[in-house]
């Protein structure tokens, strides 16, 4: 018998909302948006946690410039504070080496992280997801009942083709869906907006491609000053405040 499943609700009982930043597609900006959203909510005075569930390509620690911290061992693991955010990632254990996991391993790692992490009281737990609709997505749906999904796409037909598949599953399974963000917009096509609205899903707006974003990666002060962050705030404040 698997004991870990039954403790997860307790671990998250003082977490008010769980926002899962997901996409059927990779490289659309899930990680930048997760970190950006976490930083913004923290500035607004919320208690925020950030959990990186992308084990093959963990990115949140790179974006936030996380160095020389480790969870504190106290009846579980207490995530270290990074720019005011309670941050948990597998990189604390992998030492940033490759993690060649198969699907069953992914499930075990997620269960273990959820069972031993002591988040305490949070207004928001943001989860930075890997792409796709595989083990990570199915496990979040299975283990974290209060998940609300925030779906990211770009304007590309190829990207939206993958994102649509996640949207279909979430709608079909009646999972709370905060809406879709169209990231890295460059043209003025309304293709994505039309598609999303046509599926009766909230279109949260577009965020332009920001040529200066790359330079701000690893430094949360610089990140906060980007046009990326200004636009992100516009998209998200209408759903969270």
């Amino acid at each position: 018998m698997e004991p870990r499943i039954s403790i997860i609700n307790k671990r998250l009982q003082n977490v008010k909302r769980v926002v899962v930043v997901a996409s059927g597609k990779g490289g659309v900006g899930k990680s930048l948006l997760s970190s950006g959203l976490a930083l913004h909510l923290e500035k607004k005075g919320c208690r925020v946690g950030l959990l990186d569930l992308d084990f093959y390509g963990p990115s949140s620690h790179i974006i936030l410039g996380v160095h020389d911290v480790f969870p504190q061992e106290d009846k579980g693991l207490i995530p270290p504070r990074v720019s005011g955010i309670s941050f948990m990632s597998l990189v604390f254990f992998t030492h940033d080496k490759p993690a060649p996991f198969r699907g069953g391993d992914i499930t075990n790692v997620i269960l273990e992280l959820l069972a031993i992490t002591q988040w305490g009281s949070l207004d928001f737990l943001i989860i930075d997801m890997p792409p796709g609709i595989g083990d990570e997505t199915l496990d979040v749906l299975r283990f974290i009942k209060k998940s609300e999904f925030l779906v990211v796409t770009t304007s590309s037909k190829v990207a939206y083709g993958a994102v649509e598949k996640l949207l279909v599953i979430l709608k079909e399974q009646k999972i709370p869906l905060l809406g879709v963000v169209e990231n890295m917009k460059q043209g003025s096509s309304s293709f994505v907006e039309t598609e999303v609205v046509g599926r009766d899903i909230r279109y949260l707006g577009g965020i332009l491609f920001d040529p200066h974003l790359e330079d701000a990666i690893g430094n949360t002060d610089s990140l906060s000053k980007t046009t990326f962050m200004k636009e992100l705030v516009v998209c998200f404040d209408r759903i969270f405040f």
Partner: protein, 136 residues
């Protein structure tokens, strides 16, 4: 002492079972400690007993049977099998500790001793599990 968190999950699973199977009391829980996770019997038993005191009447008189479970790892590529005992020799202290927190970290820091593949399975002895719960 992250062991408390896992001990807590055992008691919570026991409560859940009591609920589901309409048991008035839980008499005995048998627990396996998989070798890979390197959890010390005494620490774990202490945590279980302390926690049981505050878990309410269903767990007031529970007995814990804690057994060690030997590990077995098997390579997908060459089918060779080995154990954590053998793997441990190639690990640094930090690496072994990382595996203590998350046993799958073995795939990050260890390889098949015969063919060096990272593509192996944890067949047995991964971590904490419940082998039986008895109540009435």
């Amino acid at each position: 002492m992250h062991e408390w968190a896992l001990a807590e999950s055992i008691l919570s699973a026991a409560q859940e079972t009591a609920e589901k199977e309409h048991l008035k009391t839980i008499n005995e829980i048998t627990i396996l400690l998989g070798e890979l996770q390197q959890i010390e019997h005494d620490i774990f038993e202490f945590a279980l007993k302390e926690l049981a005191k505050t878990e309410g009447k269903k767990l007031k008189h529970v007995k814990f049977h804690i057994k060690q479970e030997k590990s077995m790892l098997q390579c997908t590529r060459c089918e060779h099998t080995w154990s954590f005992d053998e793997m441990k020799k190639t690990l640094g202290i930090d690496e072994a500790e990382a595996i203590h927190f998350i046993p799958e970290i073995a795939f990050v820091h260890a390889r098949c001793p015969k063919c060096s593949s990272p593509d192996f399975d944890i067949i047995k002895g991964r971590g904490v599990s419940i082998s039986s719960i008895k109540g009435s």
